[in-house]
């Protein structure tokens, strides 16, 4: 199961108070559709009891905040208190929050309905947010914390992130973010030490699928920054990442990360011995063809040493020669020229043969578009 689907089904199972495994039959549904369904059901559940929450909030407003806090902790419990808090004016809710024990407040936050509590969370003072976040971290409540990230004030987010040193928590909070466009903001707030801790946790806690998947949501600068840190993890970790990319079809994400690295790190990553393995290279080309990510792969192929390029060409010219035709039709010409211009002399012949037997028309069209390109002069001569 794709890691982001797994995260979505975990959120749904929590809402439906059932076991995560019970929702596995929804694997294969579109991620956005699952999230929209969950949000719709969450609002529906809340609205079923909204009248009760409003009545209790009405009573709460009649008594001093100290008495309300006492009532909440001793009688109502965190689930009901969460509903009531969402129906109180933000100013009153904040006064009440200030009187509640940290643990109770954290539990209350777990049960807040995201849509109906957005305004309340946005209005919460940084001090209360930071206290609650600390308690939620201790409870491993990463899903709730991810919900916080989306709505709390930037100053509160900064205060919270500066205190998080648990790499596993950082990766999981990022994974559970509803709006992945917030990922740039979140990661941008982390120090290099924290970013390294997140990558170490990825290795220690089998979280590379999450890190690779999240990488696809980052802007190019952060992707490069994180990519360079990944490249410094050493061959054992890099080999493991390659296996994860192969098992979970996360090649496009990995290729994006490598493309964003600086050249030295790129050279190191693309020439890891693991990539020479037949099934790994086959999986790479298959995924690239399926996801049409040729423009991510092709710029990296000229960086491969001959020992690595040969297995790539084995797949492209012998085991899946039809993919050459697809690449010629779909990749950017400059990326194809980069590959053809860097073919070792001994490899040109088999590439020419594969082009002739599997991609005649697309090769002719490519040549017509690039008639003056020196990079293909030799191949053109071989093809006659």
């Amino acid at each position: 199961m794709h890691i982001e689907t797994q995260a979505e089904l975990l959120k749904l199972s929590r809402l439906l108070e059932t076991d995560e495994a019970d929702m596995a039959f929804l694997d294969g549904q579109e991620l956005n559709a699952l999230a929209a369904f969950r949000n719709s059901v969450s609002s529906f559940f809340y609205e079923q009891h909204q009248d009760s929450y409003q009545r209790l909030a009405g009573i709460s407003k009649l008594v001093p905040t100290g008495a309300s806090a006492k009532l909440a902790t001793t009688v109502l419990g965190s689930v009901l208190a969460a509903g009531i808090a969402s129906e109180l004016p933000a100013e009153r809710a904040i006064k009440l929050a200030d009187k509640l024990p940290d643990d109770f407040l954290a539990k209350l936050c777990i049960h807040l309905e995201p849509t109906h509590s957005r305004a309340l969370l946005a209005a919460m003072p940084d001090k209360i947010v930071a206290t609650v976040a600390k308690a939620l971290l201790a409870m491993n409540e990463h899903i709730t914390l991810a919900r916080f990230v989306a709505v709390i004030q930037p100053s509160a987010l900064k205060a919270v992130t500066s205190t998080v040193n648990d790499g596993e928590a950082m990766v999981k909070i990022a994974l559970y973010l509803e709006d992945k466009s917030k990922l740039d903001t979140l990661l941008g707030l982390l120090s290099e030490t924290q970013q390294r801790a997140a990558l170490k946790a990825a290795t220690d806690h089998e979280l590379w699928p999450a890190v690779l998947s999240l990488n696809g949501h980052l802007n190019t600068r952060l992707r490069g920054q994180m990519g360079n840190l990944v490249a410094e993890q050493g061959d054992t970790v890099l080999s493991h990442i390659i296996e994860v990319a192969s098992d979970q079809q996360l090649w496009t994400n990995l290729l994006q990360a490598v493309n964003a690295m600086d050249n030295t790190h790129q050279q190191a990553v693309v020439n890891v011995a693991k990539l020479r393995e037949e099934h790994i290279m086959e999986s790479l080309i298959t995924t690239v063809a399926e996801e049409n990510s040729w423009d991510e792969l092709l710029p990296l192929l000229p960086l491969l040493d001959h020992a690595h390029l040969a297995p790539a060409l084995d797949v492209l010219t012998e085991r899946q020669p039809q993919t050459l035709d697809q690449a010629l039709n779909q990749a950017h010409d400059s990326n194809l020229l980069g590959l053809f211009g860097h073919l070792p002399e001994g490899e040109e012949q088999r590439v020419a043969k594969a082009l002739k037997s599997h991609a005649t028309d697309s090769w002719q069209a490519f040549v017509a578009r690039n008639s003056d390109a020196q990079e293909i002069a030799s191949l053109k001569a071989q093809l006659g």
Binding site: T18, F25, L56
Partner: protein, 72 residues
């Protein structure tokens, strides 16, 4: 349409959520609707219990007006 889907429809489950359930193969749609309905019942029971707990701590003479405020 399964009983659970009909019940959820009657209880006002939004059209987009119903459409998602109904887009699934029949056995999966039924399973998901059953789970949503069971969760709703659990939450109903929890809220009702908490409301009753709240009422029980109200001193006797005030219980009737508070009950009216809570339950209408």
């Amino acid at each position: 349409m399964s009983d659970s889907i009909s019940t959820l429809k009657n209880k006002g489950l939004p059209a987009d959520a119903l459409a998602f359930i109904e887009s699934l193969p029949a056995d999966q749609a039924s399973k998901l609707a059953d789970t949503v309905l069971a969760a709703l019942e659990t939450k109903d029971a929890r809220v009702e219990k908490a409301m009753n707990n709240a009422l029980n701590v109200v001193p006797g003479p005030f219980r009737r007006p508070v009950k009216k405020m809570l339950f209408g």
